[in-house]
Amino acid sequence: MTKRGDLIFSTMEPVLKASHLNKFFYEPEKFQVLDDITFEVQRGEFLTIVGKSGCGKSTLLYILSTMDTDYEGTIDINGTRLTGLDQAALARFRNEHIGFVFQFHFLLPEFSVLENVMLPAQKLGKFSNAEIEHRAMEKLRLLGVHEQARKPASKLSGGQQQRVAIARALINDPTLIMGDEPTGNLDTANTRIAFDILQDLAHRQHQTIICVTHDPEFAQNSDRTITMSDGRIVSHGTPTATATKG
């Protein structure tokens, strides 16, 4: 246990740095959603963000995801300053470095399970189609849904679809995996499976995971939990404590 903790934190290499993030909503009236958010995430860390509805945790996640560019402050991921890049560059960056899992699976219904997983890799264009297919099958096997690969995405159960969505997030071996309540629509058994998969990715594959969640158990079992309230971080969590506990 401690050995694993050492492995993760000895390098002390922040994979994500957010500094002094501010964001305002102007409708219906001016309102500060995020107030001077500054934090770092280490490589291989499984981080959860919790807080009441409306505390700004989802807003923060979407800013970190590079999809929302309307903010003040700076974001660096993997040593790249993302603040100020244009949309096309951000899209390329997301494609290569960030994987997403949402509350809803958002699989493309006209495509097969395998095709859904392959698409981001085909977009990246780093590998041949045959190789991409092979890698996609690996990811599906990792998540235990490889037997459904040829089925249309719409024909799977909710738990299976969410696992396919995770496989899709993993296809380009991203630096960061972001989840917006990734287990929000799953029953206890499937939540457990999804959680274990994510934890495994962090601890075995050293992929960094940031999840926004409402589920206290999910948060407790992660490496570290940031707690937000009214747009501020009220607790950065204690990594060693949670890491050893897990």
Binding site: F100, L108, K123, G125
Partner: protein, 418 residues
């Protein structure tokens, strides 16, 4: 990279086959109607043009009575304080013939752009049939020159064109006139000129141009014969008909020739103003109807693409989240529109060809002998098919662009946050 977008576009199209086919049929009918309208209407225009060239030279040179000449008094007293007004001045009793005709002819034959020249001597004449007289005209020509300009040989229904050369007192008679007078090849007819000279000429052939205005009144004979009838010398020429290379420049060429030789010059477009106008109206009609159909098809595509984009908001959001840029999204949806447009247009020109072919098989009967055709005239010009496909693709590009741009502007955060 593009192949991925193409694959997504293809999957979208195939997932909604019915919608795709409906959108395609919109383009198909639009283009088919464009091809059909253009082929049929320009076919008619071509027929009318050809007909008018059977009767009218590209340019005709002649002289007009000089009614506006100044009176002797006016020339004499101009500049003085006397006010002169001469009423009812009559034209001089002069023969209306082209002076220096032989020089003009020689000059014209040397001009580049002039492909045919025919000198003519025309006179009104009465054809006597028993006690009845028919009004008509007699045209003295060099039969080979005339053939070069008006394709006379193909109009001969009986007898031979060359017979005219063998017998100086012979003529080729219009079919309508011959019918009225019950004259056949080999018969003799009596002609009376306006000045009272009476001649007997032998009918050595009957021609039919298809235009009643000619066939019912005209006869051809040798130039020398008419000159003899009128009692004039060998230099007497009343008209010169010209064939030129660029028929649509005939108006400017006519003006230049008129100035050069000091004669009247009439081009075919002026002479056939009504035909030219109706051709233009048919052209406009074809453009308007085709444009309307294409616009309607364009709106159809716009609608369907808009619906597709609305249906696919979630898909667009997740594609953007996983790294597809706005340009990729435009490509994905625009590709769908262009595929619909291109296939629709191809099908459209095919259908257009089929319709045109069917119409070209329809028997076409006209009252009287005005038009000498028996099938509906259709112009199978490949340019219409090329334009049709081009139009189809351009229309769908435009119709697909706006929904695609909207798709590219979808804010993924708003949708993914749910």
């Amino acid at each position: 990279m593009f192949s991925t977008n193409l694959q997504i576009a293809k999957t979208h199209l195939l997932a909604k086959k019915k919608q795709t086919v409906v959108a395609m049929l919109g383009v198909t009918f639009g283009i088919a109607m464009y091809v059909l309208m253009s082929s049929v209407l320009t076919g008619v225009n071509k027929l009318v043009d050809n007909l008018s060239f059977q009767a009218t030279a590209h340019i005709r040179l002649y002289r007009e009575p000089d009614v506006n000449r100044k009176s002797l008094l006016e020339t004499k007293l101009s500049g003085s304080d006397t006010l002169v007004k001469v009423y009812h001045q009559r034209p001089k009793p002069e023969r209306l013939y082209l002076r220096n005709a032989s020089q003009i002819l020689a000059d014209l034959r040397k001009l580049p752009g002039v492909t045919g020249v025919s000198a003519q001597v025309s006179t009104p004449a009465f054809y006597n049939y028993g006690s009845v007289q028919f009004n008509g005209s007699l045209l003295g020509v060099d039969i080979f020159d005339e053939d070069r300009l008006f394709d006379l040989r193909s109009q001969i229904k009986s007898g031979r064109m060359e017979n005219l050369l063998a017998n100086p007192n012979s003529l080729l008679m219009g079919a309508g006139l011959a019918k009225k007078m019950s004259v056949r090849e080999g018969d003799n007819v009596t002609l009376v000129t306006p000045r009272g000279a009476v001649f007997v000429l032998k009918v050595v052939g009957i021609f039919k141009s298809g235009l009643g205005a000619i066939d019912n009144v005209r006869s051809y004979t040798n130039i020398a014969t008419v000159q003899k009838l009128l009692g004039v010398d060998k230099t007497f020429i009343t008209d010169i008909s010209l064939k030129i290379k660029d028929i649509y420049a005939s108006k400017t060429v006519a003006e230049r020739l008129a100035a050069r030789y000091g004669v009247k010059a009439e081009d075919w477009q002026t002479a056939n103003a009504t035909l030219v106008t109706s051709n233009k109206i048919r052209d406009y009609m074809a453009y308007i109807v085709s444009a309307t159909l294409l616009v309607v098809a364009g709106f159809g595509i716009y609608n369907i693409m808009s619906m597709t984009v609305n249906d696919k908001m979630k898909d667009i959001a997740i594609l953007k989240a996983t790294g597809f840029s706005g340009r990729d999204i435009v490509q994905i949806f625009l590709t769908q529109a262009v595929i619909i447009g291109f296939l629709g247009a191809l099908l459209g020109v095919g259908l257009g060809f089929l319709f045109s072919w069917m119409i070209s098989r329809v028997p076409f009967e006209t009252p009287g002998d005005f038009f000498s055709i028996d099938r509906f005239p259709v112009n199978f010009n490949p340019i219409f098919y090329l334009i049709g496909v081009g139009f189809g693709v351009v229309t769908t590009l435009l119709a697909g662009y706006f929904p695609s741009r909207r798709a590219a502007r979808v804010d993924p955060v708003a949708i993914l946050r749910g």
